[in-house]
Amino acid sequence: MPIQEILLNIFFYAFALVALGGGIAVAVSRNIVRSAFALLAVLFAVAAMYGFMRADFILVAQVLIYVGGILVLIIFAVMLTHKITDVRLSNESAPGPAAIFACLCLFFALAAVALSYRWERAAPSREATVPSREGQPPIRLELSMTQGDGRTGVTPGGTVLDGFVRCAVAARGQGGEAQARFRLERGVLKESVWQWSEFRTAEARFRAAEPGTRRAEGSFDRLPPGPYRWSARIEDFEGETAWVAFGSQGEGAAADFVSERGLTKSIGSAFMGPYLLPFELVSVLLLAALVGAAYLARKEVHRQG
């Protein structure tokens, strides 16, 4: 395994340990303020997990709202709901063996489900048939693409999160030495029409996976944000096939994938698009929470006086 993978794994386990340790401290600490500060560790570790998952906006939202807002509110509430006589700010709990047992059972059930289910990983691929040279049967090509980490597929029209995409072409019924050539086109909006121009090309030799099917993989990295289309063709000593595109072709055709750094823009567009109504409802909810909570808290000020 490459050292980078090991580093990522170490990173994951370190923060998983922080999260679990913090969670245990929240659950069993006898001192409520210590519980609250243990929650800080959990929230930060979960934020680090979002970083691990490349969800940058969620990372900062987690830190900004949970750590900077909710946790401060919780600590304030702790300070507000304890008497002068509670020397250690005790935090009683009633741990029965039944509770521990039930929770352990639940954990093992959840973990078993998560580990045993075969999560779908590969992206849906697109099949195409191209005419080959005279006298030969047509070649069937299968095109697919994955994120830079090589583990997560990208669907047509999907998003590549860190400017690194791998395109793959698999050819069936093709013999002999061959190589694939990938062509990436970048879209630029000119007078509200997408203009496509060649951006980069890559080559890859076919690796013989099994008799009859061969696979070649080309990778493109450091892609600036924007929409892209890619196409591939197969070249061998005797000639070459036509370009085969992954998505639909034509002047106004949609992009195969969009390169983005981070989630912020996608989230912004989603707020303007499919999540318009929930977004506005959130403002109503916040209004209700503000008015309601201020009302409840204010009552106490008057009673105190």
Binding site: V63, I75, F164, P224
Partner: protein, 408 residues
């Protein structure tokens, strides 16, 4: 020394770590990081000297004079003194949290430095959520302060911490709303791109390709509103760093020293360092959003290579602007008297926040419809002029009486 970490604005280098010479990149990170930690320490030390010298100057004193020529090495002596001071953890303290708190406070203010755009194309970390990240990690400081205050087991510390937390979170609201308004013009959260965006443009968005130098900076894009936004941001930022005139949490005459009353020696000095680091972060955000970041003030009128390399030139301009804003903070400390708590909250919620809201709306209108923004700007200028002239006409010498209610 930053060679490995220099990258073009539009691409990341993460794949160098994952797929390339990762150890070279890691080494680069460590070196850059080491440099910045030391820079913060030295910067804070020099800042203390600067602050004492400015204070002395304003009070017609000499200030530190014994160590080094004109006292210029006083900060080293101070650092040594802090190092050898006894480290006391009070009997009543919660030992674990008491030891952890400096890490949280210092880490929170230090982590914000990672996203600052020091020069064209070089930040320690070029992040797509740059400014939001800075706001987020800075809010960890609040938790650290509460931790310090509570774990000290002292009433002074706890009062100071609660006040400090209430003040910092309150002033985060005008800061956030103001920055939102500015972001409407830049359309990105990336600190590098924000700086870059101020190279061209100006005048209510009419002039998109104009290299206006200082007039292309965020400060003069939508004149009365962006300037107001700068004032709101700077005031609120000052309050977030708990500096005078907003130093209620550590008001010496009321609360001894606020949340770090019980801390001593080296452990105390980290709160101190964090405060200075925070001042710099506030100044750096103001520089990036309003003063053009690392851009020189005269646009393309003067060639951009009077310093050895364009990268160093960027560092020079960025640092000059930041240090100027930090200097103004010190200046204000010895000029303005302290606010009362109720005045403080009043200023935040009833003045800065509504103004920030109006700014946000006005800049939004201006970016969406340039002519409308211009008309709004003229109207606002007229209203301001009217207000000022009325105030001047009404003004009569008033002898300010000291506050009668020192409570709260």
């Amino acid at each position: 020394m930053f060679g490995t970490a220099i990258m073009p604005v539009e691409t990341g280098l993460w794949d160098a770590v994952l797929y390339g010479d990762w150890y070279v990149s890691l080494l680069g990170i460590f070196i850059a990081c080491f440099v910045i930690v030391n820079f913060i320490a030295v910067y804070a030390g020099v800042n203390t000297l600067m602050e004492r010298k400015i204070a002395a100057r304003m009070q017609a004193r000499i200030g530190p004079y014994q160590v080094g020529p004109h006292g210029s090495l006083q900060w080293l002596a101070d650092a040594l003194k802090l190092m050898v001071k006894e480290d006391i953890i009070p009997r009543n303290a919660d030992h674990l949290l008491f030891r952890l708190a400096p890490y949280v406070v210092f880490g929170g203010s230090f982590a914000a430095w990672v996203a600052l755009p020091f020069t064209a194309g070089w930040s320690p970390a070029v992040m797509d959520v740059g400014i939001l990240y800075i706001l987020a990690v800075s809010s960890a400081v609040v938790i650290g302060i509460l931790m310090a205050g509570w774990s000290s087991g002292s009433k002074w510390a706890l009062f100071g911490a609660m006040r400090s937390a209430a003040q910092i979170v309150s002033y985060e609201v005008p800061v956030g709303i103001t920055l939102l308004g500015m972001l409407l013009m830049y359309g990105t959260l990336n600190m590098q791109e924000i700086s870059q965006a101020q190279e061209t443009g100006g005048f209510f968005g009419f002039l998109t390709d104009w290299h206006g130098g200082i007039f292309s900076w965020g400060l003069f894009r939508h004149p009365p509103f962006t300037i107001l936004a700068f004032l709101v941001y700077y005031t609120a930022g000052l309050a977030e760093t708990n500096r005078t005139p907003f130093d209620i949490p550590e008001a010496e005459s009321e609360l001894v020293a606020g949340y770090h009353t019980e801390y001593s020696g080296m452990r105390f000095s980290f709160f101190f360092l964090a405060e200075y680091a925070n001042m710099f972060v506030v100044a750096a955000i103001a520089t990036t959003f309003f003063l053009g970041g690392w851009l020189p003030p005269f646009g393309h009128l003067v060639g951009r290579t009077f310093l050895v390399s364009p990268l160093l030139e960027g560092v020079f301009w960025f640092m000059s602007k930041c240090f100027f804003l930090v200097f103004v903070m010190m200046w204000l400390r010895w000029t303005l008297p302290r606010y009362r708590v109720d005045q403080l909250m009043d200023l935040c919620w009833k003045k800065l926040t509504p103004v920030a809201f109006i700014n946000l709306m006005a800049i939004g209108v201006g970016e969406f419809w340039h002519l409308g923004g211009l008309m709004l700007g003229v109207a606002a200028l007229a209203a301001l002029g009217l207000l000022v002239s009325k105030e001047v006409a009404r003004a009569e010498p008033v002898i300010q009486t000291p506050a009668l209610n020192p409570k709260s």
